[in-house]
Symmetry: C2
Subunit: 224 residues, 2 copies
DNA sequence: CCAAAACTTGACCATACGGTCAGTTATTCA
DNA sequence: TGAATAACTGACCGTATGGTCAAGTTTTGG
């Protein structure tokens, strides 16, 4: 929610409006995630929301406006999920926690992740300023702290910017491309299970911590 | 190209047909990658190809048919890029080579990668059989060989299936979400540069090899 | 050189789509 | 309770879209 009409956000004021906007945005997130902006129809969003089409336009004017509201909410969610990292923190714990938090998002909000992915694939016409602004700053800040940790000998030297990028790639793939991994793993209905997310989380944490010299290398088996 | 009408594939037979199909499919790949199936119009594909719209329908009947032709070609490309791995091969070299090959594809055919990504995000209605068939088999074969290497003490024990998934995630992110990384890196026109791909490739190789115990852990700096 | 086959395309059609609006019903609050 | 405000929605509109077609032009192969 970008700061707009916050006036009536509490205490029954515009209660119906709030509820219906939420309902419509939830339906829209689902439909947009499956068909992208151009491929989604206001009629199908209305159907998903269980409301007549004109109602959607009553609350959101145009399809573009509705889409922006959905994307803005997702961007806010993304940004708020970025924990603060401080110079004094423990690298291994911090990295593992961050990976867990991102995986939790992939599991709980896969549609949001896919709307975002759709937007990126299309060249991100609507979130350019977010990418080159808030997100860029966040990456620079975080990688600066990681670099400090390296200087202080708290972790091994790595390319910290790419480290962050690749953490995102590995965590988001489990939301965006769920069907691919579920199919390859032979899961029913092409949906991943609780346990798949846990196993993936562990695998990513291990990979990242080993890369940063924060986990001892496992012994190789002695040849059979 | 799925084996269809191979008869007229050489020697000027159907030369015009071949050339125009190629031209249209190339334009279609570009348009589909940006708008997905439902969001792409035959008119915009025609414009991109520099041909009248009716011409597209002359060669490909329906939009659906054209889309399938494009997706089939991409699936073939993907499958053919999977190098054979043999039990006797050297793990470090093999893994590094595979990562380089995948990154080469991300750099040279980003649109193809995005069409594929679009299809996955939508739940892969058209490539389900490929995912659960050829691709599943490929992953099982490859991870079996990696497991053998682990048994033989040639590399450290890791979750080989997730290893493969995460290599894909890290390599494809540079094609699918190029605009995100280019924006965060502050690149002009939001396009990645040659050097970005090299750096990313090195980072992924290092990450994977360290994870498998195939690269010595770098020394930590002694505290400042 | 010629006729058959392949290719080309402007004009057209039915449908789907985003969006509007006027008339109605439900809610709020003094 | 009543009047003002907010919410609701069926019917409608202009445009965009996928697809067709018939009339033409070009290419092919004997």
């Amino acid at each position: 929610m970008t700061s707009k009409e916050i006036t009536e956000e509490t205490n029954n004021q515009g209660r119906i409006r709030q509820e219906n906007r939420k309902r419509i945005m939830s339906a829209a997130e689902k439909v947009f995630s499956q068909n992208g902006f151009r491929g989604s129809t206001t009629a199908s969003i209305a159907e998903e929301a269980g409301l007549p089409k004109a109602n959607i336009h009553y609350y959101f004017g145009t399809k573009e406006e509705l889409y922006r509201a959905v994307v803005d909410e997702i961007v806010d969610l993304w940004l708020s999920s970025f924990r603060e990292i401080h110079e004094g923190d423990d690298p291994a714990t911090t990295l593992a926690d961050y990976i867990r938090a991102k995986m939790e998002l992939s599991k709980s909000r896969p549609e949001a992740s896919r709307v975002f992915a759709n937007e990126l694939i299309r060249g991100a016409p609507r979130i350019q300023s977010y990418l080159a602004g808030d997100l860029k700053k966040w990456v620079e800040q975080k990688s600066a702290i990681l670099d400090k940790w390296i200087e202080q000998g708290k972790m091994a030297p790595v390319d910290t910017t790419r480290l962050i990028f690749h953490i995102w790639a590995m965590t988001q793939t489990w939301a965006d491309f769920e069907v691919q991994w579920a199919s390859v793993l032979g899961r029913e209905d092409n949906r991943l299970e609780e346990q798949d997310f846990e196993q993936a989380t562990n695998s990513i944490i291990t990979t990242v911590l080993r890369n940063c010299g924060l986990l001892p290398l496992p012994e190789r088996r002695t040849g059979v």
